[in-house]
Symmetry: C2
Subunit: 282 residues, 2 copies
């Protein structure tokens, strides 16, 4: 993708990284944020062609593509407020980690004005802000598209083109419901586990003994509380189901330990090894 | 350490890696195993000076240091059977992941014949066998020493010297009880979590969507069932305590989700982030 006009709303880690990759590929990139400093940083570092915290109507109206890199609860408000500014035929997308309750709502607000084609780039970093932006993180990553019946093949092609320009190589199509069920397991449950391990007890005195396995497992325990509390709550039914299944599995393990059932423990370890191998990258 | 005579008992991943590193540093290394093929492989690849599956008495008798790279339950039997062969003043050590029930028993079998100074090299790999041996894994790693009142400073110096030769740079001294409590949290609980996540449900269809966080968290779900079932059971009281604390923490998280308590969830995420930062490598 080149020579497109792309407006990025939200100049944080992900918005900044999108801007950086898209401007380098030869597109015109506008940046919008509520923070003066983030816009100034993005401009100074050449991540955006132009940008502003106010009077940004001209950027929105000029854009072929608008990428909403906002906290979930802000997306709907932003669209309500700015829908009238959108260019007829523009493609709007987001990067939000939860889809139900957002995708259909935004589509109904937009009507025929512009097309909202939702997606979820499966790559991030454990740090925040445009100062940590890095378009290199998208190389070889996975992009999930979550269309509804209202979406067109044309808009899908636009999002894919943009994502490929950023370095994404694999694409999956899931319904918003399938998406939220999937992230409940592969992403949200794992974050809750890492968080619970750290909050279970204060064990900082054990830090010198923590090996790579402990560090790898808890890396995601460093977490943006504003974003993730919202993601967890928006997907709470799926997430509660996953927590229940996982805790039942921990309880089973503990029962085998309790009754010193070596055969049953070995069988769990064997099953775990077999299943985990199917998650290895081919 | 160089020009020492070192006998490695158990030519697996760890035994092979010890042999490889110690022979390269200029020591005479003997290898003992019950598997002909492992000894042959170690010889062919120059990991050992000599070795055998039987008639290995001369290697044991000649050794200044004997390193037991055996499954926990085999250690005591091996020492009982071979104590008489040990050279007076030899230092015996092990690499076992659980210490209680092993260290004092081995020391009492040996009496004044030779000194058993137990240790735990905190580095491994998710693969087994001498064919995966790699002495590079020990570079900059952590070695835990677990002496009792029966141990001497002289033997400690021998083990440290050997470990430094292999690349270990930090050393900690813990009692066998402190060691087992520590591994219950930083190592065993994390393995049980990874295993339980894989055994909770068959979700192989989600493999294409699993990102780095899922892969990092479950990397250790590929696990040697014979070794780890024994380690878990030998440390079951500590491990059950850790599982209970962790599950209580998961339950708390779930309750906050249930009642949509955003403030409480944010507080857990904030606490998690703060605590995890103290585990970052300085």
């Amino acid at each position: 993708m080149r020579d497109k006009k792309i407006c990025i709303v939200g100049m944080g880690l992900l918005g900044g990284s999108f801007a950086m990759g898209l401007i380098r590929a030869g597109n015109i990139v506008y940046g919008i944020d509520i923070c003066e400093e983030s816009i100034a940083y993005a401009k100074e570092n050449g991540y955006i062609t132009d940008g502003s915290v106010s009077g940004y109507g001209r950027f929105v109206s000029d854009a072929d593509i608008v990428v909403l890199c906002l906290y979930p609860h802000v997306i709907i408000d932003w669209v309500k407020k700015n829908a009238a500014l959108l260019k007829k035929g523009a493609v709007i997308t987001d990067v939000c980690g939860v889809k139900c309750g957002i995708v259909e709502k935004v589509q109904s607000i937009l009507g025929d004005k512009a097309e909202f084609y939702s997606g979820h780039p499966m790559r991030g970093k454990e740090v925040l802000g445009v100062k940590n932006a890095d378009c290199g993180i998208f190389k070889n990553a996975n992009y999930i598209l979550t269309p509804t019946k209202k979406n067109t093949k044309e808009a899908e092609a636009v999002i894919r083109d943009m994502a490929e320009t950023l370095g994404f190589v694999t694409f999956s199509i899931l319904s918003p419901e399938q998406h939220d069920k999937m992230v409940g397991y592969v992403s949200q449950l794992t974050h809750v586990i890492a968080v619970s391990l750290m909050t279970a007890a204060d064990r900082a005195e054990l830090a010198p003994y923590a090996g790579d396995s402990f560090r790898d497992l808890t890396r995601i325990a460093t977490i943006d509380e504003t974003l993730w509390s919202e993601l967890f709550l928006r997907n709470r039914e799926n997430l509660i189901g996953e927590i229940d299944r996982f805790c039942a599995s921990m309880k089973e393990f503990k029962e085998y330990l309790d009754r010193e059932d070596e055969v049953a423990i070995k069988e769990l370890l064997r099953l775990s090894t077999e299943r985990r191998r199917r998650f290895d990258k081919s």
